[in-house]
Symmetry: C2
Subunit: 462 residues, 2 copies
């Protein structure tokens, strides 16, 4: 059976859509035409340009994120969605204040670093200690309780650059666990080599297990840039002791306002059956979140608008665009969405999202019922003009959508090329000029083509 | 005559060294052999690695610059120079403290900026004002006295990327003059689009006319990154008023310690005739000064060491390596050197320096007597294996050496490829990983080959 399927997949790949059932050729033609048209609109870029310019950074729970919701409501209403709603929820708010680090011995040198979201505060006086370097989270975990007393732990693990994001999945444990592990060891602070691949001197932030919400307390924890991690490594090679001072102050508010923005194009014949496309509205506080996740917002809004224009009478099913709040700080918006709509999750035919930058989509991963695999194959073949190849099962649909996937909603992941995404991700360098417009447009085309099929009544993924 | 010369130059270029007089072929062969050998040593890289690792940033007048002098004395002594001397002088010291900027209206957004060296301080309270954008220093100068009262002036001129550094020469006026022009206009502060070409979110510092030493007082002045300048531009396109807040605090000390480090290989037959090669030891405070000017230090030290090894009995003339202090803040070390050695400047046969990063040398510019032009042509032909083409007259030898050139010393500029130098120059991103080792080695080869000719008795450039 497995053999049979992979033979079929190969056939599909090499011989194009005609052998792949069950999509009728006229559906394929229409989907492609809608996709081409969608890719030619300039809407995605102008959406990202507007969001990143008018709002800029939009950390979950801040006034800036509230402005992003206002922006979204205004833009989506202008674009002609049938309904635009804000669904509020609360989120813990962690805000950085002073962040400063320097090597104090053997000679004074500044460090480029950034606090991790949820880090404990050092207070204005800061902390000082000798560096204890380990190569990995595993090596850190293997150390005995109290064995880094008074020191500053430094987890110097290098992240692999990969097309599919596998390097990130492997590296993110370091960001999540170092703070609490360092506490267990008795350290006064912790540093990690940034979870990122930038060859420039940027530190990458991101959420760690949060002070007060983790099983263990955490120490003040920051990420240093790759160049600074290299510098620490060279100094540790030369000197018995390298001392560092960290001043990382921050403020923690347990319950601030956030919200999801939900816009719908009502289905004509099956209004209760819903296809969801998502992206997140919040960003980290350093860059303007052009790639993470302004690009996703642009792609899903532009794709939805293309469907609206291609089907003035409305699609069969309802298309729901969800711009999640508070993704970065722990999928808080996605969880709030799933809880609020718990009773209706069965009506979601398919959900997918865009939250991996603006690189070309090259693979269609999926988390659907076995019965829907021929449909996925056929849809993949339909996407071949955009260079999409057959993907893998077990997809979770992306960070926010994974919450729905866990609740049994069928999902797909139109996988983007993430080769350089982590050069910018969670740094001040995530700004508008990094968008590859041609790739952004390719994404819009693929999303619109997929939607034109998924919104047809009778097409099921479970 | 002009025609004749350029015809000769063309001949030289196409037919190689044999037609170019007056260098004997065995000199050319020896120079090339010494150059090849020099380029194969790993000394330049290990010098830069050591300086940038052990000392890191080394702002003129600071304890870090003093450490750099100690480092240089120790390294040059270890390498076997006949004498290593520190020649002290005083330099004004400007140090940045807090630097923070944000857009406050129409909506709050942080700015990536950095104070310019010599900027006035805003005090802890900062300054706030509406942006007045102009396109160029010329447009700024054209405004009437008092016409930017209470505003923050923003000079949004884009720097051209060029191979030969011409874009920098054109852009640097903006950095020098904006602070005092803004004062004349009654502004409370000033911003410039960074003098630089980085496509990443770095602001570039550099010296402006210094508070207290300029004809006019200056306002607090900072450079914003290219992305932030773009963002301000887009907001100004959309809104009548864009307000910015700047907190730029700094401290000014009129007389701190600096010094030049001078190392010599004594001449055997003509010890009083001197060839100088220079670089600067100080750097800005943000990066580790790997390209500006760690690379130059590496090149001249490695080239001198290659000569030492190739001529165990010593060269005819004295080779003097000058590692200037306090270049960045106004060629203070170069001026101190020229003053101290005023009586001996006539004995300098030739002077050149390396202070333009680590790109390949591609052209040999010159500022020598007309009688020496055939020699320059011949030397250029000698350098053809390294891809060097005939250069232009009127060269000043580089920033520090220009002070000697003005005093009548013959100079050359082995011009480096500066295509991406200003991506890193004066930013935190000027770190060791940016060095192209192959190009660094090419520089060492060219320097060593030139030296092997210039150190011969009887070879004159004036
Ligand atoms: Zn994201
Ligand atoms: Zn993110
Ligand atoms: Zn320089
Ligand atoms: Zn410089």
């Amino acid at each position: 059976m497995r053999l049979h399927r992979s033979a079929l997949a190969a056939l599909t790949f090499w011989t194009c859509a005609s052998v792949a059932e069950p999509l009728p050729q006229d559906w394929v033609d229409q989907a492609r035409a809608i996709g081409y048209e969608a890719a030619n609109s300039n809407i995605a870029y102008s959406v990202v340009e507007s969001l990143t310019t008018e709002v800029g950074p939009r950390l979950a729970g801040t006034e800036a994120e509230a402005r992003a919701r206002d922006w979204a409501v205004s833009e989506l209403t202008k674009l002609g969605f049938d309904s635009v709603t804000v669904e509020p929820f609360e989120v813990p708010l962690w805000e950085r204040h002073i962040e400063r680090g320097r090597i104090v011995a053997p000679g004074e040198q500044p460090l480029v670093l950034v606090g991790l979201g949820g880090s404990a505060s050092t207070g204005d006086a800061g902390v000082k200690g000798a560096i204890l370097r380990v190569e990995s989270p595993e090596a850190l975990q293997a150390l005995a309780d109290g064995s880094a007393k008074g020191k500053i732990v430094f987890v110097d693990q290098v992240m692999a650059r990969t097309q599919d994001g596998a390097g990130y999945s492997a590296a993110v444990r370091k960001r999540r666990e170092t703070g609490e592990q360092a506490y267990r060891l008795g350290a006064v602070g912790a540093l990690i080599r940034s979870v990122g691949t930038s060859g420039h001197r940027f530190a990458h932030t991101g959420q760690m297990k949060r002070a007060g919400t983790s099983d263990l307390p955490v120490v003040p924890t920051a990420a240093v840039s790759g160049a600074d991690a290299d510098q620490l490594g060279r100094l540790l090679d030369r000197h018995d002791s390298v001392e560092v001072e960290l001043v990382l102050t921050s403020e923690y508010l347990p319950a601030a306002q956030s919200g999801n923005v939900v816009a719908e194009i009502k289905g004509r014949t099956r209004p209760d059956e819903v296809v969801i496309i998502g992206a997140h509205l919040d960003s980290w506080d350093l860059g303007t979140g052009a790639l993470d996740d302004g690009a996703g917002v642009g792609v899903v809004v532009a794709a939805a608008k293309a469907l609206m224009d291609a089907m003035p009478e409305g699609p069969d099913r309802t298309l729901r665009v969800v711009l999640f709040g508070a993704e970065e700080v722990g999928l808080v918006g996605a969880k709030a969405y799933a809880q609020k709509h718990q009773a209706d999750l069965d009506n979601i035919v398919l959900a997918f999202e865009s939250d991996f930058g603006a690189g070309d989509i090259w693979r269609l991963d999926h988390g659907v019922a076995d019965d829907a695999l021929p449909l996925i194959k056929s849809m993949t073949a339909m996407l071949s003009p955009w260079g999409v190849i057959p993907g893998k099962p077990g997809a979770t649909g992306g960070p926010d959508i994974s919450v729905l996937a866990q609740a049994g909603v069928p999902v797909i992941t139109p996988l983007q090329n993430g080769w350089d995404y982590f050069d910018y991700h969670h740094t001040p360098d995530d700004t508008l000029d990094k968008l590859e417009r041609h790739s952004l447009d390719q994404n819009v085309g693929v999303y619109a083509a997929i939607l034109s099929v998924a919104l047809r009544e009778g097409v099921y993924f479970k």
